[in-house]
């Protein structure tokens, strides 16, 4: 593998480019696996943490101002390390501790926010997929800002009014399902919902 710069790798992640993702996996996964496995984790945990790390970097890469100033591998490692620390903390097995002069200290708060955002995204997607195919299609069209008139045409509804009603029903159904999940409350300020 020819060494790609952090920018090229970010670009590859943004494009969901398989070749880039494969080369990152080859280069970085063994280190992440080692980190997790020697700290009370297993191969499966390592895979999850690695994927979370990449998804967080993907979220960040959507922001044009985002730049990785160190080696990509180092950055990914620091993100995964933090995610694993957080996980150990949750299961009260925190044997790794953050060191005072950790060079990535400043990133951590943002990473935490991105991590939670990705968790919520996955939760939303999970319940979206439990909706009827009809509902999924209507919501997809609606969230993509397609007009009710066009939605009605595509879906073969009798009227725009019915399309509006259907979209509303589907959305309420999805929101209810999501809010019922205890994880949603965990990821949000419970009092507000």
């Amino acid at each position: 593998m020819t060494k790609k710069s952090a920018d090229e790798l970010l670009n590859g992640i943004r494009r969901n480019d398989k070749e880039t993702l494969e080369s990152i996996y080859k280069d970085c996964f063994p280190v992440i696996r080692y980190l997790v496995v020697v700290n009370n984790g297993n191969e499966h945990d390592a895979k999850d943490i690695y994927q979370e790390g990449i998804l967080i970097i993907y979220q960040k890469s959507k922001n044009d101002d985002f730049k990785i100033t160190c080696a990509f591998k180092t950055y990914l490692y620091s993100v995964c390390r933090l995610l694993w620390l957080k996980h150990l903390d949750e299961i009260k097995q925190n044997k790794l501790t953050l060191i005072e002069d950790d060079p990535f200290k400043d990133y951590y708060e943002n990473i935490q926010l991105d991590y939670e955002k990705n968790e919520r995204y996955q939760l939303y997607r999970k319940y979206f997929l439990t909706l009827s195919i009809d509902c999924q299609r209507v919501l997809e069209l609606y969230f993509s800002k397609v007009s009710l008139k066009t939605i009605s045409k595509i879906m073969g509804y009798k009227s725009d009014k019915y399309a509006k009603k259907r979209k509303h029903q589907c959305k309420i159904s999805l929101i209810k399902k999501i809010k019922r999940d205890s994880k949603f409350k965990e990821l949000n300020n419970e009092e507000l919902f």
Partner: protein
């Protein structure tokens, strides 16, 4: 909160009048629950629009599974165990190779294919003399006569003449005559001198006969070094030297 759902829809769809919008934004500032709900629905909308993150997640999962499958088809063992296993095999292989080398060295030291004496017997033969009849000053006549003596195995007679001659040819045949008369150390010194001069026709031959001298002296190590030197050169004795090295 359900009372607000329709308003929230209207808000996202940009269907509110200016007054409704001002009113709604005022409410969001004072009602934290409403604000949170709007933010939640906005994020829900964004997440469902961002299909790429799920494609990315699927791709990552696929790559991981492919790597795992490739690994499993190689071996069913865990990678770390496998690496250790490979290291053990490598170590074992190294030990076996070292044992083979050691035993073959031992074998050759003790059960050599040929003794130095045998090798010397096979490879040594007297040098061919160049009998050139020239104009005939005395020295040259004497040299020719000495060479004839050498050809006729009269080494003592040849030595007598060669010892008085300072020419390179005389020195070379003197060395060979010493070899024939078992004065091998004298031969070695002469051959070394010829090699050191390095500017005559006899260097390659001198190198070769020096090697043979070492065989005769049973100086195996020196012989190996000498024949290695020849086998790495362009000498006419290159191939013969390689043969000796194989059998030494």
């Amino acid at each position: 909160m359900k009372n607000y759902f329709k308003s929230i829809d209207k808000y996202f769809e940009g269907e509110m009048s200016e007054n409704e919008l001002i009113e709604f934004e005022k409410k969001m500032k004072s009602n934290k629950k409403l604000k949170a709900e709007v933010e939640f629905q906005k994020e829900l909308q964004d997440s469902l629009n961002d299909k790429q993150i799920f494609d990315l997640k699927n791709n990552l999962e696929k790559i991981h599974n492919e790597a795992k499958n490739a690994q499993n088809s190689e071996t069913n063992q865990e990678p770390v165990v496998r690496e250790l296993f490979i290291k053990k095999i490598q170590l074992a292989a190294a030990v076996i190779i070292i044992m083979i080398i050691a035993s073959s060295v031992f074998y050759f030291m003790n059960n050599r294919t040929m003794s130095n004496e045998t090798l010397y017997g096979i490879y040594y033969e007297p040098a061919k003399t160049m009998l050139v009849v020239r104009s005939g000053n005395n020295d040259e006549v004497n040299l020719m006569q000495a060479l004839q003596k050498y050809n006729h195995n009269d080494y003592d007679g040849a030595i007598e003449v060669f010892e008085k001659d300072n020419s390179k040819m005389a020195k070379f045949f003197l060395a060979l005559s010493y070899m024939e008369t078992n004065r091998v150390l004298d031969a070695v010194n002469l051959l070394k001198a010829i090699i050191e001069e390095n500017d005559n026709l006899f260097v390659d031959q001198a190198e070769w006969y020096l090697g043979l001298c070492y065989l005769k002296l049973n100086e195996t190590e020196k012989a190996i070094i000498q024949f290695s030197k020849i086998s790495q050169s362009n000498s006419i004795y290159k191939i013969k030297s390689e043969e000796i090295l194989k059998n030494i």
